[in-house]
Structure formats: C-alpha cells, structure tokens
C-alpha cells in the first residue's frame, strides 16, 4: 500500500472539503437537504446519523458529484481527481463476472492502468481487509461480510482523499458488523484515511467516529454535532466504558429529538 497519511490532532488537520449552505430539493418540492454546512478535515471520521429520509444519502451523492446542489457550494481544497474519492454502498456493488482482484482493479483500469502495473497495490488493499487469499474468488463465493470487505478494498485502493460509506454494514448480521467496525478502525489507524460514514445506528456512529453529525428529516438538515473525544485505537474496553455509554446517550437523545421534530 502507499505510505500512510499521518493523522494530526483535530484543529491542526488540513481541510479536505467544505459544504457551504448546501440545499437540495427534488422536483422543486421535496426538500432533501436544507442549509447543510460541514467541514471535513484530513483524518476525520465523521458519522452522519439520522432517521431514514433525512438526506444522508443525498449529502453523499452531492459530495461525490453525482448531482449538483440546488443552492450552496461544495468546495474541495485543491483540484479533485478521479481516484480522490472512494465509495462504499450499502450493497457490496461488485461486478459478479469479475474476480475479487479484478473488482479492486476497476478504479485503475478506468484510468488505463494495466493489472500488472498495479498488482502490488491491489494485493496491498486486499491484505488490509484480510482477503489476501481470495484474489481469484468470484463474488458469489464470498459471504456478505467478505463482499463488503472487497468493496472497502476497492474504495481505498487508490489511496483516496475521502472515503464515503453509505450504511455499509446495515445489511450484515450483528457479529459480522462488530467485526467489520473493529477492522475498519484498525484500517483507519494503518492508512489514516478520511471517512464520512452514514449510519442509523447510534452505537456504530459513536464507536467509529470522532464527530457525529445528527440529522433530522422533512426537511433534511443537521440538528446537532457531537464530538467523540476518545482517542483511537478504540476496542472492547472503549465499547464497555462509561464514557462510551454517556456519548451514546447524548447521540441517542439527539436522535430522539430528530425523530420527534420530524414526526
């Protein structure tokens, strides 16, 4: 894998991107997002937490440039290139006709890079997600959790400046989900990636992120930002600590408020 980025303490991290008063409405009627402000810094792990329909996916789609905002701006620090963004969807979204390694090759392939020229980076990414022995497997031979790992490997193989994850573990069973949460943090510690992580699980958001952004629906908007100051690496000890419990309660209260406001 390419050299890891050092993670600076919050406050000293350079800006990656900023959402400035972003609005998004569909058909001029449905307001999916209103006046969203969000600054993402290098090494941040930000969770977007909220009930369904509050515009979390819309925010990610705006950031990934799949659609333009209705108003406001999304400003990147510096020019963005094709490999600067990695995306993980709720479904693994793999090409079933391609092997695991070929799936991870995709971002390079689209830039015209041969498999041989990036073989080491593909192997590195697959090793990071614990799939070093599955290069030649086809997606259908893998479990749900393993497919998701392939998807994560594909997202980080280009060493992107930002990784967007839209409820990536929501469809997995609880045990697999916890394992992937732990592994995701270990991975973050290794390569120092910047992540925006969408979830509707309070526990997941607090365990993973250093900032939890709580959103409410109709219209979709940010109602609270919580800092999670606990240092990484986080493990079972953090999961069972009073600090974690207190933070979860805060996030939970905010979420109740979000749902209450919407209802």
């Amino acid at each position: 894998m390419t050299d890891p980025r050092p993670i600076l303490p919050p406050g000293q991290r350079p800006l990656v991107l900023e959402m400035q008063g972003v609005d998004k409405s569909f058909n001029g009627a449905v307001v999916a997002l209103r006046k969203m402000n969000l600054a993402v810094h290098e090494g941040d792990f930000i969770s977007l937490l909220g009930p369904s329909g509050c515009g979390k996916s819309t925010a990610l789609r705006l950031i990934s440039g799949l659609m333009p905002p209705t108003a406001g701006r999304i400003v990147w620090n510096g020019a963005v290139q094709a490999g600067d963004l990695g995306v993980v969807f709720q479904e693994p979204t793999l090409m079933p006709w391609a092997t695991v390694a070929q799936n991870v090759w995709l971002p390079f392939r689209l830039r015209g890079q041969s498999f041989a020229s990036v073989r080491d980076r593909i192997a590195g990414a697959l090793a990071l997600v614990g799939l070093e022995n599955f290069h030649n497997a086809y997606p259908r031979e893998l479990s749900g959790g393993m497919k998701m790992r392939v998807s994560i490997a594909r997202a980080l193989v280009t060493n992107p400046r930002l990784i967007l994850m839209d409820e990536p573990f929501a469809a997995l069973d609880e045990i697999t989900r916890q394992k992937l949460n732990n592994d995701l943090l270990a991975l973050k510690a290794k390569i120092g990636c910047t992540v925006i992580f969408v979830t509707h699980s309070v526990f997941e958001s607090v365990f993973l992120s250093d900032r939890v952004v709580v959103m409410a629906a109709r219209p979709g908007r940010v109602i609270r930002e919580l800092a999670v100051p606990a240092p990484y690496p986080r493990d079972m000890i953090f999961r069972t600590s009073p600090e974690y419990a207190a933070l979860c309660r805060d996030a939970s209260d905010a979420l109740v408020e979000a749902i209450g406001v919407a209802a």
Partner: protein, 288 residues
C-alpha cells in the same frame, strides 16, 4: 413436566440423516428419469407409429413406417447431407448476421435515445410481420439468392437478440453505474466494463431463441425461393419429394431439420453455460 414431554422424539441426528438420505435418493432418481423418460416416450412413440402402419397396412406413400424412414435416410444420405449443409450454412450465417445486427442495434439504441426512438418501432414492425409475406418481395428485389435467403432468416432471428440485449444493457446495477461516474469512466468504458458484461446473460438467452428462429427463417425462405443458383437445402428437398410423392424422403428430411434444431439449441445452451458458469445465478448448481 407435562405428559407430552415424555414422548421422546427420535434422536434429531437420525431424523436429519434419514431426511438427507431420502432427498439424495430422490435427486439421483430424478437425474436418471430426466434422460430415461423422454427416451422411453420416444421408443413408445416410434413403436406405436410402426404398429399403426403395419396393422393398418398403410401404404408408404401415405405414411411410411419408422424403419423405412431410417432406410431412406441412409439410402438418400448423399442428397440429404448436401441439402443439410446448404440449410445449415444459411442458418449459421443468418445467426451470425443476427448477432452482429442485434447487438449492434442494441448498443446504438442504448447510446442514443434518438436512434432508439427513431428506429425501434420499425424493428418491431419487421418482427411482427410474418416473414412468409415479405419473402416473395425480397426475392423480387434481391437478385442474389443467397443474400435473399440470408435477409429472410435475419429478419426472423435478429429481434430476440436486439430486445434481450437492449434490456440487458439497460439493467446494469445502478450503484455500479454511479461508481463508474465517480471514477469518471468514459461512455465507452462504461459500455465495455459494465453494460456489455451485464447484458451477456440476456444476450445469451436471446441467442438461444434466435438459433431456432434462424433455422425456421432459412427453411421458410427456401420454400419461398424455390431452387436456382446455389445448391438446394432441406426445405427444397422436402418440397421436391412432396411433388414426387416420395413421402419417406420427406420424413427423412424433416427428421434432419428437427435434429439440426435440437443440435443448435443444445450447442447454444452449452455455450451459454460455459460463459456464465463462473458467476451467473442461472448457471449455479443449488442444493435442494
């Protein structure tokens, strides 16, 4: 503790094993039956045919028995085999042109909505108009007999490929399509790396139908075209044998056509299986 609890059920393991064994046995029996039953039906059918002919003293110019048909097949093999080659040649060429035309049009239609809007209705019209009614016209305007035959067979065969491939190209996974955009794939890259592979199972489904249809198209076209220029195919041999009341030869030629259709279908099914077996649901062997 209630009374019911004292009825000790059989050990769960034993139950499970018995169930498993029964299921495995059923599967084996089914595997054999799949081949055995059709063969049995064929044998019975041929036997019945033979008996009906013999018992009723049916003359061979009305209904020949199966034995006579086989004899004729052997006796006339030289003529029939030549005819088979001609029909097969037209069928396969028509199928090839149908693949090129069908896939080409499908790609064009998915790349350009305008092209689709302009031409799709005519593809449908071409499809729903019976080929027998167009064929005579084709042979008036197309001088080259081979080209005429090909055109007829193509008209019949290309539509399932066009329709299926178009559907397949459009059913690429939406998230993968988004991913392609995020990685700034060109239109050509999206077509090559996402849409074409997504369309492959659909295309192969269309190809299997088109294989049968191109044989039908070739045969119908031959009927309409009659003979001339190039060698004569099986359909012409059937017509000719009909005029001469050579009914056994009609049956022999018919047998060859049916066999050809089966072989084409089996070949295309095998091709489809080989291409999809690694990844597609349709080629998976499922438990139970």
């Amino acid at each position: 503790m209630t009374l019911a609890d004292r009825h000790i059920p059989p050990a769960p393991d034993a139950l499970f094993d018995a169930e498993e064994a029964r299921r495995a046995r059923m599967k084996r029996i089914e595997g054999v039956a799949k081949w055995l039953l059709p063969v049995l039906v064929l044998a019975l059918g041929v036997l019945a045919w033979d008996r009906v002919v013999v018992w009723n003293d049916i003359p061979h110019y009305i209904l020949p028995g199966p034995g006579l048909v086989l004899q004729t097949l052997v006796k006339d093999w030289a003529i029939l085999f030549d005819a088979l080659l001609v029909t097969l040649q037209i069928t396969l060429m028509a199928l090839a042109v149908a693949v090129i035309g069908g896939v080409g049009l499908a790609v064009l239609f998915t790349q350009s909505r305008w092209a689709e809007m302009s031409f799709y209705p005519y593809a449908v019209i071409l499809q729903v108009t019976p080929v027998v009614s167009i064929a005579p016209l084709i042979f008036i305007y197309v001088d080259n007999r081979l080209a005429g035959l090909l055109l007829c067979a193509w008209i019949v065969a290309f539509f399932p490929i066009l329709a299926n491939t178009t559907l397949g190209l459009k059913s690429a996974d939406h998230n993968l399509t988004d991913l392609m955009r995020i990685y700034r794939a060109t239109r050509w890259q999206r077509l090559r790396y996402l849409q074409l592979p997504s369309a492959l199972p659909y295309f192969l489904g269309g190809l299997r139908i088109a294989g049968g249809l191109s044989l039908i198209g070739a045969v119908v076209a031959e009927y309409v075209a009659g003979t001339g220029g190039i060698g004569s195919g099986l359909a012409f041999r059937i017509l000719e044998a009909g005029y001469r009341l050579n009914i056994p030869r009609m049956f022999a030629a018919l047998l060859l056509i049916a066999l050809t259709g089966v072989v084409i279908f089996a070949g295309l099914s095998f091709l489809s299986h080989m291409l999809l077996r690694k990844w597609h649901e349709s080629a998976l062997k499922r438990e139970t």
